[in-house]
């Protein structure tokens, strides 16, 4: 089984978000970048397939040279090889087109991408790869098992879950649930040493310009101070919620 895990290189979830150049660009100064959490759950599930069922795991990123540290981390966690498409990931459709090319050329059985990245939160790349290639696709995936050429997949729906069967090749939009938080792996020294010699292939992008463009960024307006209500005066809280906020 060949698995491709798509990795976004995103600011750590604790990062302060600031913008530069007239609010047109994200300020990366002092920001720690990590594997996008939704992708990391998928990567760990892929490593389990490798350990339990003998899969080969490739990780791929569309990004600049700075993303290589994130790919090396994925290799240190246990992926076999890495691909970097050397391009600025300008929008979801552009990234999906690059990844669709990689999928076509690599003949993967399972393609795992996080259901959304925590930087632009587009939530569209896995679906677009599926749309471009006509592959089976399950989004918001919280569980997957594969037996031969058949996958049994669990999708989170509003208020419950759906159990789905799908043939391979299959694309999933992954999230927590594929594995749990405690299952995530921290690279050990042996993994880090091995990652140094694993193959990281750089390929050039193909095709079109983006269909959408982020013009500028804004930060939310400053919050007015909280109104504190005494714990002995909860009637006042109910009064405020009813008459002022009008939410109850």
């Amino acid at each position: 089984m060949k698995i491709l895990v798509c990795i976004s290189h995103v600011p750590d979830t604790t990062s302060k978000i600031n913008f530069i150049n007239g609010d047109s660009e994200f300020d990366t100064n002092g920001v720690q970048f990590v594997i996008n959490p939704n992708d990391e759950f998928g990567l760990t599930r892929a490593i389990w397939f490798k350990e339990q069922q003998g899969a080969n795991v490739t990780v791929v990123n569309v990004g600049g040279p700075d993303a290589e540290a994130t790919l090396r981390k994925a290799l240190a966690i246990g992926a076999d090889e890495a691909i970097r498409v050397n391009a600025n990931p300008t929008d979801g459709m552009f990234v999906a087109k690059q990844l669709a090319e990689v999928v076509k050329n690599g003949h993967y059985d399972l393609i795992i991408a996080g259901k959304e990245s925590l930087d632009y939160n587009g939530g569209m790349v896995p679906g677009m790869i599926a749309g471009l290639l006509g592959y089976n696709f399950v989004n918001a995936c919280v569980g997957i098992d594969i037996n031969g050429n058949e996958a049994k997949v669990t999708r989170e729906i509003d208020g419950g879950k759906e159990i789905i069967s799908a043939g391979l090749p299959l694309i999933i939009g992954g999230q927590k649930g594929l594995v749990e938080e405690k299952d995530l792996r921290i690279p050990n020294m042996r993994g880090i040493m091995m990652a140094r010699t694993k193959v990281l292939t750089i390929i050039e992008p193909t095709g079109d310009a983006s269909s959408t463009k982020a013009i500028k960024f804004e930060k939310p307006a400053a919050k007015t101070a909280v109104k504190l209500v005494s714990a002995d005066n909860l009637d006042e809280l109910i009064n405020l919620l009813h008459n002022e906020a009008k939410v109850i």
């Binding site: 994200f26 939530g123 569209m124 959408t212 939310p220 906020a245």
Partner: protein
């Protein structure tokens, strides 16, 4: 040319998110001098849409579409858009719409922008405001393609009544076997419980509750308010509550009218995930808890005394107001 919305329904009723889409679409249509068309799937009673400005409903009825299938639904929505010559397709941010929207965008060769929170800043060039960096920022995005797909963030625009005379017609798109490559074998759904996605009010609790055995009061408070229950990440990680209740940056997003956080200190990732809620109430023993900085109302106090009192007072309030 008219603006097309995908109006979701459940159990024969048009969902509230669809009425929000209609409200949004009507405003955009008015500014562009066009009309609003809604596509519905296997839903016979679409009359509520007329109250929110939908000029025409196209209903698709087909037994093969009885269960949600992203590919098949995306296919029939795309066919409807093509038939109507639509330039703007609007979808909600429900789990199902988030699933099908990228497929629609590929088929229509459309630029797709998700998490849209306001009316377009301009329609030529077409620019909309969306959330990014998990609600820590907004970005203004320009769509360059002729056809555009917008995903409207939940509870960002609200309902605007605008009664019009609505025409209904039916459409029978062609379905391909390729649309049904995956089969739904089973749906496990808790009935009679308000979901976080649909809830107007969410009652959420964290480690301050000290243990899973103390959640009874959280559930009771939620019941009194008709709210959904949620929890912080540490609470779901240690297994006190199911993962489906975890809200925050790596859990479910919350965009309710009222979010009540009990015993949650307010880690940056938690706040990012719930910040789209309109009104936030924080109950915490620690007056220095970071959550107070982003809250609208706060009570510094012990959940174990505050919450039971709040339940009693809310019960009295509800019975005197009903």
């Amino acid at each position: 040319m008219s603006i097309l919305i995908y109006a979701e329904s459940a159990e024969g009723k048009i969902k509230k998110v669809a009425l929000e889409l209609a409200s949004y679409a009507k405003k955009v249509a008015a500014s562009m001098g066009t009309t609003v068309t809604a596509v519905t799937i296997n839903n016979s009673d679409n009359t509520t849409l007329a109250a929110y400005g939908v000029d025409k409903v196209i209903n698709i009825t087909n037994d093969k579409l009885a269960n949600f299938s992203a590919k098949a639904y995306a296919d029939v929505i795309s066919q409807t858009a093509k038939k109507e010559g639509t330039q703007i397709v609007l979808v909600s941010s429900s789990t199902d719409s988030l699933y099908l929207a990228p497929l629609v965008a590929v088929t229509l060769e459309a630029g797709y922008v998700s998490n849209v929170v306001a009316l377009p800043e301009s329609t030529s060039p077409f620019r909309v405001k969306r959330t990014a960096f998990s609600n820590k920022a907004f970005n203004i995005t320009e769509i360059a393609t002729a056809v555009k797909v917008l995903g409207i963030a939940k509870n960002s625009f609200g309902l605007v009544e605008n009664a019009v005379t609505m025409f209904e017609e039916t459409f029978a798109p062609t379905l391909n076997d390729a649309d049904f490559g995956i089969q739904v074998e089973n749906i496990e759904k808790v009935s009679g419980k308000v979901t976080i996605a649909d809830a107007e009010i969410v009652v959420s609790a964290g480690r301050g509750m000290k243990g899973p055995e103390n959640w009874g009061m959280i559930e009771e408070l939620a019941t009194v308010l008709g709210a959904a229950t949620a929890c912080s990440k540490p609470v779901s990680d240690i297994g006190w509550r199911p993962h489906s209740e975890h809200v925050g940056q790596t859990g479910k997003p919350v965009a309710s009218n009222l979010y009540i956080a009990i015993g949650i200190s307010g880690a940056i990732q938690h706040i990012a995930g719930v910040n789209s809620s309109k009104v936030k109430v924080v109950i915490n023993t620690d007056p220095e808890a970071p959550f107070f900085k982003v809250a609208d109302y706060g009570v510094v106090g012990d959940a174990f005394t505050v919450v039971p009192q709040l339940i009693e007072k809310l019960k009295a309030f509800k019975s005197s107001n009903s």
